[in-house]
Symmetry: C2
Subunit: 825 residues, 2 copies
């Protein structure tokens, strides 16, 4: 087991929580509330000493109070639970706007000052702590990577449960307390993430405790879950396999001691139920448990003024952001703020030197059990390098340079390599898929592991189910959001993995990938104490060029453009690979599986295809990013070509090689350059790991025409090489958004990516009038080949049966194989 | 009421469905199943006459059988319901893979041959109908726009309920039968879309009837909802406000007549319940009804061979795609296929001439009640132009050219204009928002309408709720997916609308927008019979340059790059507008609200800002796409500038004008060019509506340096103008992915977009050594201004108090106003 197990997990208390501890929790709550209001409002005089005035209020009041006091309450109680049970736990804050609660927690548990010694333990430090919040040169207003204990910023809503479930996988001792905002609960990703409990194994995985923070309002509207009846809401959660506990407080005059007593008792009951689930699982119970969850109904902005200017504030959408926005400008509002801060009795909480009194924090856990210190919230601490198989075992033989259309499904080779990897790293590598793991040819993994699925219900069908098991390294929920989110949670807690998507549908998680990149960017730029986490590996297969049969809706190669926006800043949080064959894919995987603090986007086909390069050649090309394929080029050593044929992506590369074959027969001198690591050709000014301009010229020449056959939209290359020498000589062929339901050849034809289109355009670039007849002949053939497909229902043999003139027959397959039914889905 | 009401909606039958009709439905089912198998497998001899052999099987077998027979069953019964009740109804197919069912339905109701007369009503036509399916030059395998009756392709899963709910809004007579795949149900967007029933008004909106197609399997795995207990699933749906009806068939020997009888009775009961809901609503009942829905549990691939090669096929994931993939190559498999086709008794269904027998279709509805002819599935037929208010009423006065920082929130002006628009078009214009309608300043609408919200529950709070009502033109569900999906459904049924998003989070719907664009592309390219639908208007506010306080996670202007991938093909399905001020925004809105078959992406700020142009000037600039602002340029007429300052986006434009001010003081000659319609500067070769190269040179010069201050990532401009004259002289400043939680000025500074950075770079481009001292001075000032903000908590007055040297004081506001708390959320 690679994970560090801290504490004594799942240990029952079996007694009521002592009143003294509840007093501690109340002190925690008041302190955290005071610290939160202070962060939002105060720039100086943090203890409201003599002379406290409007001048001490920030000029610009930003932040969000509404969700914060409820989270402070929960964090206090979770701290108590952890301490009493010595329970390994992390806290995920769905409504990340409660950032002040996260920093307050970290200040209270001592971890904040460990990573930020400039926040000294005195009044000056407190002032700095307040002032920095959402302030120029300061810290974000969310539960951001800058805050110890966070693995989930919550800036974009909807992902807290997928992160929590990802965190507890293969982490059997971990309790992940996940607060779900009731606004957040309306998002699609959150709505489906409740169902991920169906995959969790109560024995080998940890436990997620969702707490629905039902404070009634989003920004300006009531929330759905707050307005339906209690009965409906209970049914909703039971219907998703949870046992809901309802807790209501703050709407009447109940004293806080009573509220704390009730909540602590509830939390104990819930924790005991979790311990029971763990015990029953250890005893071999096979039925799926109903996991407890808590519906925490409290007023929005709890403990802030009940009304401001006669308008209901506590318990209203008006408490969402900054309830007293004019506290600096309006004396009356300043007095309200003053009274609000005094209501927490700060003199009981802070000593004269501005230090938090020891009786506030006495009940809290220590060491790695502290929320801010739990290594699961700084996963790099737990990360150990994967035990990599010898990739050479999976190399596809290239007997002679250049095959024709081959028999190798590249992603299946990746699947075989990854299967051994899983076998070597059973507790720390996972595959996630939106029901496409087999479709994308990663099913060799099923030789060593299963698809995790904890059905345990009346509709199980063991006679016909294949590779389903309560424990396994593959999870398939038909939700790209869940795949991305679960993998993020798994990586952020120190592990490794891969998820695969149909290329077109990976756009579903554009925004999630953006957010993960931003987390990484912030980390690599200025958060030294966060240790590197493993790269997030995404395989985009079933790609645009072989979605001919699934049609236009399945054809979009534009995810790369999302990634480019995160890749011109030398943060190096993005890698973009277009392996041209199985061996290149192996070389890429070997690198990706050892990478850290990045997203690795790998675009690779799953259809039978030729293998061009040996593994050594692939590795060498990968080290540079691109290479001339000298065996394909027909220029003599040192000879300048008439044209450079550049290619990137498996299918465009095959077409470029075939086009070179056509041009070679005409005596045209062609250099073939393959690009594997796309960002290596990026303008050197934008990427300090890109190749030099000298190398760029060495590959692409200083002044020859360059025809670039590119996997995705042509604009991508154009924006990448804007400043490169000779860039105006590049003519990029890419996907032109011309799709339909058709054949592999016709997909190419429609987008001018077939070999005849490439060859004809090459001749145009060299000398259009000289080659007019040849160009016309090829253009006619293109139409004829389409008509052949229409007449026959399969592609022209000139397309399917072509092989490189130097190729052996080893890789040859029949036309039938090439034309088998396409991708599933 | 703009909608055509066909039929006699909500009419009870009050008697059992006659057996003769049930026989008709059974014939329909068998015919549709035969037509579906035929489409997937057969290329010739569609009636299996003498000599039927493997040669008649397609070479390449693609398509999806699994979901199809269940949908055929449902379509048959829905046809019966429509005919008996004369009910206005549309059918949405969540699992779009059931494409063969959609084309079969349209062939059966007669609409297919109306739009495709080449599919003749004889054996040759039938052969063509079979062969074209997922075939080169043929039709898509999904319920695509090519098929009459479709408003939802289903190629990407998850959106069927949002489309259905969008379709029934303000469409009180419409029944939208929405089949939800049980795999699809695992997606996030689908999971949250169930909850949209909370917004529906049973009186003024139509009714969505969801049917969960519970066939147990996705591609290769069981589905979650098929494996949980019936009790859990019932609770799940009741918990979301539905009344679930369970129907199970196909797992035993029950004869088909009995199954049809049971389902018809169920559908009658459900329909009666819907009629009751409508009646109670008409009688004024205020409580939210539980809407009926059906759980339709039948075997995957129902009626296909139970086993193939000894492996369970019907009722298994093996039936997902093409169960007999080798039917052409393997005689045994061909015989299985033959027997399968014969099992439908085709001789009872088709006459000798290959025509469907009249007794098959006798029970079906006629005219516009046919699913393929319902005008709600060809919304352009119902669309009427909006009654536009006079936009001039909302023009912001520009007393003197060029203000300083002004007091106008541009999107609030849009909100005022849109409010009158709503008032003029109450049944055909809606705003959707993810709880950001007010945050994005569209709340003037609340002067004329409300936020639709059908709470009707114990937790209603009328004393404190504002602008909530069972009927209203605004809907706010905290889900970008729902906003986009509801608006798509509303537009596709002939209406109009707008939704707004924080710019960063619009990436959440990247993939949905891609899919809508693809629908439109297919339509404008080759589906003449689909009449144009209204443009889909998206307002991206709370944009990157004013998300300083919300921090890095809220800063991403990259949505434009998704749109660009749909905008280089002369389909003109995308428009991208960056209005620089309120009057430009009005001019854009006026155009967008009258546009058709496109997505209008409008990026506009909501913070107080200057107004630069009159409405007439804005309109004139919009007609070209860009304009020189001669009042700002300091060149004499006809004089060439030292440099062109180009700008696009409200904040970059303000900074460019201020930079010009700085340069003017040095005597540098500057031309200012503002770009409003981004695609008008796109390479003319990629966009036949872009400006000519001559116009481009007229604006940007033939050879002068151009400094371009751009709202989004710089790469966007680079890829747009790749082929334009003088493109290598463009130096683009854009968002450099440098964000944090800071101030408005500092956001600009971090990304070299502030006026001093622009001016300094302009001097570098002109003569770096000559201007070295000035450049150094400005660079120092930039740091000083940052330090000022750190020291004071607000931005330097040189930034906030600047105004254009020719400006009057009319638009001036205090620094305090400029620095109020930022955007909500």
């Amino acid at each position: 087991m690679a994970q560090s197990v801290i504490g004594t997990p799942w240990h029952r208390l079996n007694e009521a929580v002592p009143e003294e501890e509840l007093k501690g929790v109340d002190r925690y709550w008041r302190t955290a509330n005071y610290l939160s209001v202070g962060q939002i409002y105060l720039r100086s005089n943090p203890l409201m000493r003599e002379g406290f005035s409007r001048e001490d209020v920030k000029h610009r009041l930003v932040g969000h109070w509404g969700t914060t006091p409820g989270i402070n309450f929960l964090m206090g109680h979770v701290n108590r639970l952890i301490a009493d049970h010595q329970q390994n736990a992390v806290f995920l804050m769905g409504p990340g706007h409660g950032g002040p609660a996260g920093t307050a927690q970290s200040l209270l548990d001592g971890t904040y000052r460990e990573v930020r010694p400039d926040i000294t333990n005195d009044e000056a430090g407190l002032q700095k702590f307040f002032r920095q919040f959402s302030y120029p040169g300061g810290i974000p207003s969310h539960f951001a990577p800058e805050t110890p204990g966070s693995i989930h910023e919550g800036g974009e809503l909807g992902y807290v449960l997928s992160h929590a479930y990802g965190a507890v996988l293969d982490n059997p001792s971990l309790l992940a307390v996940a607060v779900v905002g009731d606004g957040e609960a309306e998002t699609g990703p959150l709505a489906t993430s409740w169902q991920t409990n169906k995959f969790m194994d109560p024995l080998t995985d940890g436990i997620v405790l969702p707490i629905l923070h039902l404070n009634g309002y989003k920004i300006a509207n009531p929330t759905i879950l707050a307005r339906i009846s209690d009965g409906e809401r209970d049914e909703f959660f039971r219907g998703m396999g949870y046992h809901p506990y309802n807790f209501v407080a703050g709407f009447d005059d109940e004293d806080h001691a009573s509220i704390h007593r009730r909540f602590a008792a509830l939390l104990e009951a819930v924790f005991n139920e979790i311990c029971d689930i763990k015990s029953r699982a250890a005893a071999g119970e096979a039925s799926r448990p109903f996991y407890p969850m808590i519906v925490f109904r409290t007023p929005k902005g709890w403990t802030c003024p009940k009304t401001i200017d006669g308008k209901k504030t506590e318990g209203s959408w008006r408490a969402h952001q900054v309830p007293l926005a004019s506290a600096r400008d309006t004396p009356e509002h300043f007095e309200v703020l003053h009274g609000w801060l005094e209501s927490y009795d700060p003199e009981e909480l802070f000593n004269d030197r501005g230090q938090i009194r020891p009786e506030v924090t006495a009940f809290m856990p220590s060491g790695e059990l502290r929320l801010g210190a739990n290594p699961n919230a700084n996963g790099g601490l737990l990360r150990t390098p994967l035990e990599l198989p010898d990739v050479r075992k999976y190399e596809v033989p290239v007997a002679e340079k250049g095959h024709g259309f081959g028999a190798t499904e590249a992603t299946r080779v990746l699947g075989e390599y990854t299967a051994e990897l899983i076998n070597n790293n059973r507790d720390s590598f996972r595959i996630f898929g939106p029901d496409e793991t087999a479709s994308n040819r990663l099913q060799p993994s099923y030789q060593v592991t299963d698809k995790q699925w904890f059905g345990g219900g009346v509709y199980d069908d063991p006679a016909n189910d294949e590779h389903l098991s309560p424990v396994g390294n593959v999870i398939e929920q038909l939700s790209e959001h869940q795949c991305e989110g679960l993998l993020e949670g798994y990586l952020l807690t120190g592990r490794n993995g891969l998820w695969s998507s149909y290329e077109s549908f990976v756009h579903i998680v554009d925004s999630m990938v953006n957010q993960h990149c931003k987390w990484l960017e912030a980390t690599v730029r200025h958060i030294d104490w966060r240790k590197p986490i493993s790269g997030l590996n995404m395989l985009m297969s079933s790609h645009v060029w072989r979605q001919d049969h699934n049609g236009f809706s399945h054809q979009d190669p534009g995810f790369v453009d999302i990634l480019l926006n995160k890749s011109f800043n030398n943060d190096h949080v993005v890698n973009i690979y277009y392996p041209a064959d199985a061996n290149q894919l192996l070389a890429v995987a070997e690198r990706a599986y050892t990478s850290t603090n990045c997203v690795n986007a790998i675009f690779a086909g799953k259809q039978p295809a030729p293998t061009w390069q040996t593994l050594d050649e692939a590795r060498e090309e990968l080290s540079v990013g691109a290479a001339e394929w000298t065996w394909a080029s027909n220029t003599a050593t040192g000879e300048e070509p008439d044209i450079v044929l550049a290619c990137c992506g498996d299918v465009p590369t095959g077409e470029a090689v075939a086009a070179l074959d056509l041009l070679d027969q005409l005596g045209v001198k062609v250099r073939l350059v393959n690009v594997l690591d796309l960002l290596k050709i990026q303008n050197a000014s934008e990427n300090d790991e890109a190749m030099s301009d000298e190398k760029f010229v060495e590959l692409f020449t200083a002044d020859k025409p360059v025809l670039f056959a590119f996997h995705a939209y042509p604009g991508t290359v154009r924006r990448l090489i804007w400043e490169r020498p000779n860039h105006d000589a590049f003519n990029v062929h890419g996907y032109q958004e011309q799709g339909s339901t058709t054949t592999p050849y016709d997909m190419l034809r429609l987008n001018d990516m077939d070999r005849w289109a490439l060859a004809a355009d090459a001749l145009r670039m060299i000398d259009a009038s000289k080659w007019a007849d040849q160009i016309a002949e090829w253009e006619q053939f293109r139409l004829d080949a389409f008509q052949f497909a229409v007449d026959n229902g399969y592609d022209h043999p000139a397309f399917t049966d072509w092989k490189w003139h130097g190729a052996s027959d080893a890789g040859e397959v029949t036309s039938a194989t090439k034309m088998t039914a396409g991708d599933n889905e």
